[in-house]
Chain length 308, copies 2
């Protein structure tokens, strides 16, 4: 099975309003709720690709209960740990007039040292059965900033492949523990390396410890710097819609293809096609299967000349 870790799960709430006007009162015309957090989105895509998928992380309080209730009918196994704090909400306010989204993200619940320690014990058991682990998203308060480094080391000790998708200091610390793959976006890469030049920054990120780095560059596709070579992969044309969750779908594409033993160009084709097929889908963690199938054969993968 594949394990996805979401330490800072969220109940994602989407409000539709006629038009968002700051400092005015709005009637919300539509309310939608879904289980959120990057690792849960990754898990949903992995499951729909046919992989046995387990999700872990923390869930607590009334919003944690709602999140687990929404997770129950989905084809992923819930191994979230209960905590005393309350799972955060995120509120996305969609302006129906323009289609633009305003995002409000609550801070996560405070995790106690005892809860973190209980998580590590449960994680050690879970990784023993995992072929691969995806470590995704931000850390809630109370979790040590070096948490992902610890989780990478424990997964590698259990011979599981590890992918890391986070940002800031947790990424910096996590990458040093030598994960198999990290997938920063352009902003995360710039924050890590100080460079906005994709090739230079991706190579720099890899030198920091990851076996391979795949940078997601929005509509420009993916840049992979790996022990086997360097590739650029891009969709045939930009896709219109909401890019939320496109990065999570890329992670699911990369990790599933890695587990299936596909070569790098095929991993990238799958990741780009899944990522692009997420854009026309209504929510993160979902993708348009028709767009995916259509794009899969049309993704351009170009190998970059060996580094100087």
């Amino acid at each position: 099975m594949i394990l996805t870790v979401t330490l800072n799960t969220a109940l994602d709430i989407t409000y539709t309003v006629d038009a968002l006007v700051p400092h005015a009162s709005h009637r919300v015309t539509d309310v939608a709720e879904r289980p959120g957090g990057k690792g849960l989105n990754v898990a949903r895509v992995l499951a729909s690709l046919g992989h046995d998928t387990v999700v872990t992380g923390f869930a607590g309080g009334p919003t944690g209960d709602v999140l687990r209730g929404l997770l129950a009918p989905l084809p992923v196994r819930d191994a979230l740990l209960p905590v005393a704090g309350t799972t955060r909400r995120t509120v996305a306010v969609i302006d129906a007039a323009t289609g633009d989204t305003t995002q409000l993200n609550e801070p996560g619940p405070a995790i106690t040292p005892a809860e973190w320690s209980a998580f590590l014990t449960a994680y050690d058991t879970l990784v023993r059965d995992a072929r691969a682990v995806a470590l995704c998203g931000s850390l809630p308060p109370g979790v040590p900033v070096g948490a992902y480094g610890e989780l990478v080391r424990r997964a590698r000790a259990a011979s599981a492949l590890v992918l890391l998708d986070t940002s800031g200091e947790p990424l910096r610390r996590g990458i040093a523990a030598r994960p198999d793959l990290v997938k920063p976006n352009a902003d995360e890469l710039a924050q890590l390396t100080g460079s906005r030049e994709p090739l230079r920054a991706t190579r720099d990120a890899r030198r920091r410890g990851a076996h391979a780095v795949v940078a997601s560059l929005g509509p420009d596709g993916l840049l992979a710097v790996t022990p086997d070579g360097t590739w650029w992969a891009a969709p045939p044309a930009p896709v219109k819609g909401n890019p939320t969750g496109a990065g999570d779908s890329a992670v699911a594409g990369l990790l599933s293809a890695l587990v299936e033993g596909l070569p790098w160009p095929d991993r990238l084709r799958r990741a780009v096609a899944l990522s692009a097929a997420t854009v026309p889908a209504p929510a993160a963690g979902e993708y348009d299967t028709r767009t995916y199938t259509e794009l899969l054969g049309r993704v351009t993968v170009k190998e970059h000349a060996a580094a100087a």
Copy 2:
């Protein structure tokens, strides 16, 4: 005891952000939750004035559970009816830079005919013990638009005093059932009567069926048109702060003084002082007791010459 009815209760959520920028992503720096809906605010103020207070209306789903949990430690009796739907949330986003608030109000849960019928039965029992009833706020979907007319008639049949504080068609229908008191604000009065001239509009509202009408005119105070006379009542000076809940405190002031048998000028003094003392308080349903005590003797009450 005094009964307050809140058919469309809400879990009021307040988010503080550094600055609200439409179509951007925001980290919420502070989250607060409180039991919401006008009748619950009125009840909290009534209870702090020393009145035995019971709240009824509907609560359902996970947000209804949270609301009831927040209500439990407060000195009001919870007689809310469980429903299958989910109690709505309201989200107030405070811009820390300007202090301005952007409000997002979810629609209420759909109430089934069986739930409405169960409410009427429970209400008949509650009003038998009530000296006064406050009917407050909007109607959730599924509740008949003439609901407040029905509730006014049933309260009057049980010899309870009835105050109505709502807007639009529910106000129009409710007022025709001859409540003892209605408390519209300037906008609600204009919507009901078509006039923005306070005296004319308040008199017009009274002719529609209410025994007395007290219009709340923001910082200008209250205008009361009653069988005993017409009065203007105003605070000595405007108070700085957040006016949310000021109208609910006025309702609590009027109703408590009515039950205590105070004459109109004293009812208005209390309502104006409570209303003004709510403005510096952090949340609706709360007031600054020092401001209240200080203002009580300094409210100006002027009788208006008899109508032509």
